[in-house]
Amino acid sequence: MPRDRLRDLIAAQLVHSDLPIRVSDLILAALEAPAVGRQGAGDANPGDASPGDDLDAGRGTERLTSEAAVYLRAVSVEGFRGIGPWVTLRLRPGPGLTLVTGRNGSGKSSFAEAAEIALTGEGRRWSQRAAVWRGGWRNLHSGGTVRIEITCTVEGIAGPVTVTRSWQDGDGLAEGHGAAATAGGGQLSTSGWEAAFSTHRPFLSYAELSDLLGGRPSAMFDALHAILGLDAVADVARTLTAARGRLTEAARRLWEEHPPLLAALRASGDPRAAQVADALGDPAHLDLDRAWALAAQPPPAPGPAVPPGQAVTRQLQHHARLTALAALRVPASGEVAVLAARLRELAAEEAGLLGTTIGDAARLATLLAAAVDHHEQHSDARADAHADAGAAAERPCPVCGTGQLDEAWSRAATAELALLRERAAPLAAVREGLVRALAEVRLLVAPVPAALITPVSGAPLNPEPGVLATAPAGSCSIPVGAAETAWERWAALRLLTDPVTVAGGLAAAYPPLREAVEELATAAAKALDLADAAWLPLAARVTAWVSAARRAEADVQPLADVRRALEWFRGAAQELRDERIRPFAEQSAGIWSLLRQESNVDLGPVRLTGSANQRRVDLDVTVDGVDSTALGVMSQGELHALGLALFLPRATSEASPFRFLVIDDPVQSMDPAKVDGLARVLAQVAETRQVVVFTHDDRLADAVRRMRLPATVLDLVRREGSRVELRENLDPVERHLADARALVRTASLPRDMAVMLVPAMCRTAVETACNETVRRRRLAAGARHADVEAALTSAHSVTEKAALALFDDARRARLVLRQLDGHAPWAADTFRALRDGVHVGYGGNLSGLIRNTARLADHFRSLA
């Protein structure tokens, strides 16, 4: 079936479907696409040593097409299986039934297999066997060489085509050398036949008959599918399935990777990992952006370690502490030195000033200020108690005890105090500077950071107090204790007020602090780097996964489209299949009805159903009208008959170039009534096909003789040493002559009947001989099969048929008698007698007429 027509059909169906444009575009694109992996999916594989391999080797060879009709002319075999010396099985090209009978072991199957191997490069019966079984393909009685030669007629090629396959000593069965040549010696390639061989298989053996129904359901599906021209449909389904596979595979891998990724993230002590795990933890609510931001960020790590809602694990705490430790800084040494110097300078200045009048003024001012304060406190209190008193009270001086501190004193003292303070101002400024400097010290000296404080409970991670083990590796430990002690000394400076002590403390505590803290921070940073080394690959995994997840997110729509397209296409394909298989199934049912004879099994419609691995052939089998899908109800003979009913339409399909059919032993396990049916079926097929049947007993030949079916019967005898001989037992010409002889031998037959009927039978014998000659000659010349049959049918009279045989021209009927007379006078006489005897009766010797007819028929058959 042309691919284009199929595509148009599907496209037309698409137009009427309610699929979105996106989906129907997918199907159309798949229709255009080249086939994906067709070879791998089906069983239609021509085998490793396909004849094309070696036959194609010659350059400039002509290719045998899969359209030109082919008939067999001869099969010659030497040294193969049961056949020893060279022997030729001659066949009549053209439609007709040939039975080759021979006892088991006479070599008949060897002929059938030889023909198959020579043409296809493999034998079905052999290819599936164990090596030990295949070992015996060489004949024991012949020398090293094995040679098979098939002569056939091919439409469009003048002269017979010879296909040979030969094996040298030591070659394996698959290593034979194949070649094809025309009568003129031109090289041919048989590669054009390969597909046709697997699709139509003109060879059928007994074993294959059982396999046809007993084999895998998908194999029969593929076989039928190919004949129905539905390969394009399978290709589209395959393309779509492949697309779906790619998409689902990506998603499958994505979610397969998800649990291990999460586990790895959660196992990692890195806080970023914990955050990523939080973002990706719920498959239904992935926070891809956050995960991406976290993972794609280059280190250093972000600040506060533990995300909200995240369980605080020991590893997390550990990581946070490491981060804090790595971030520990001490004040710059210059800053510390400057501050200490300032403190000392101010302290010295203060000491210096205290010895001068400024110092006296300051001390006096302090004393006076206290006295004034004392006086004011006291008078305030009295005024509160005696509101009417009004005048300031007089108090004795607490210093001398004699003087009176009154209002006048107070005024003088306040004036004096202002003077004194003015005089002591430089000292006050120095003291103020000291206070500021001490405040700066408290700013500079930070309390002990939390990270340095050793946890109270002995954590397992701290095997020794004051030593923090690095989390994952444990390869190095961090000296926290030294830094902590140094910092404690340092922090104690905050509590001191004496500038000189503070300045000394700063100078003394700073260097060990700086050393200890810097060492600690470096160690912590190193530990963090180690953690990062663990994180970075994990981060890479996260970014890869997130990209894949984004792609999968983007693929959701395409995947839905492909799924929809496949679903629709399956339905459409099923309709197409049902439609295509109908005529085929009817043919099968017709053959079955001839074969079944008394069987109570009915064969209904045959359907191809399912797809992919579920594909199978549904045979609607009913037993006594009751549905029974199981083939198990049928006897072995019935199964074979059913297999034949399915095989024959396939092998005789109009699309097949092979007009021949080689069947090996179809009669086994058939009861006599079915053999009669088989004979009829074969004769029916032989009306348009060349049917060659090998059979091990006489039942089929007997049925053919009894039912007077036109057929050639050859007997095959194998002598010692594998010498095989062929003897023609019955042929269509001989059959008519035998009928005539039987009539003549019937003594009581009325003379008036005999003189009419015997010439009629003789005439038919001659006509049959002429037909045979014309077919052989014209088919060998490459004429079209249909043209040959048309020429034979339009030659009505025996004279026209003879003209065709003699001159290859039916219009030269007038010259027939003269030509025969030129050959021999008896030939012309005999021809005249059987031509006219039909109408007026033959007055001469009837037995003599039959004898001469046999000679005349031989003469016609021997014409080139």
Binding site: P672, R706, L743, T746, P750, L757, M761, L792, V798
Partner: protein
């Protein structure tokens, strides 16, 4: 082989075979009834052929051996029917004889033959539907089954 006896209607042996198949009086026949049934069916065929000779005014042909009669038959009746009568007669002859290694026909086979004959035998005495050189019975060589029809 010659049966000069009185005129017999093929319906009679057909009916007897039918009764045998239904198991009517098969009890005393035990295992031999299938072959007897086949003989009855073959007798029906022979009597139907006799009817043909009688109808064409050639009763002397009834005395011929059956093979000769079957060879002559296409000259008188529809070729396809003649062929079927021939193959039925040969098949029934075979079934009716005891052959080594071959079993008697089954009831289903016999029933089928019976049905076929009930349809086939009446066709022998119908007037010929097609002109003598009509084509319905042509074999693949393009010649009539046994060449009895004049064609020119």
């Amino acid at each position: 082989m010659s049966r000069p006896g009185p005129r017999l209607d093929p319906e009679v042996p057909l009916a007897q075979a039918d009764r045998l198949l239904r198991g009517g009086d098969a009890t005393d026949l035990r295992g031999s009834w299938p072959r007897i049934c086949a003989w009855l069916l073959r007798l029906a065929v022979e009597q139907a052929v006799d009817e043909v000779w009688r109808a064409h005014g050639r009763p002397e042909l009834m005395r011929l051996p059956m093979r000769a009669q079957l060879l002559l038959l296409p000259a008188f009746v529809d070729g396809a029917a003649a062929d079927e009568v021939g193959s039925a007669w040969y098949a029934l002859s075979r079934a009716g004889h005891l052959h080594a290694y071959e079993l008697a026909p089954t009831a289903a086979e016999l029933r089928r033959w019976h049905q076929d004959l009930c349809a086939l035998l009446p066709r022998l005495i119908e007037p010929e539907p097609a002109p003598p050189n009509g084509t319905p019975d042509r074999t693949p060589d393009g010649t009539p089954p046994n060449g009895l029809r004049p064609s020119g």
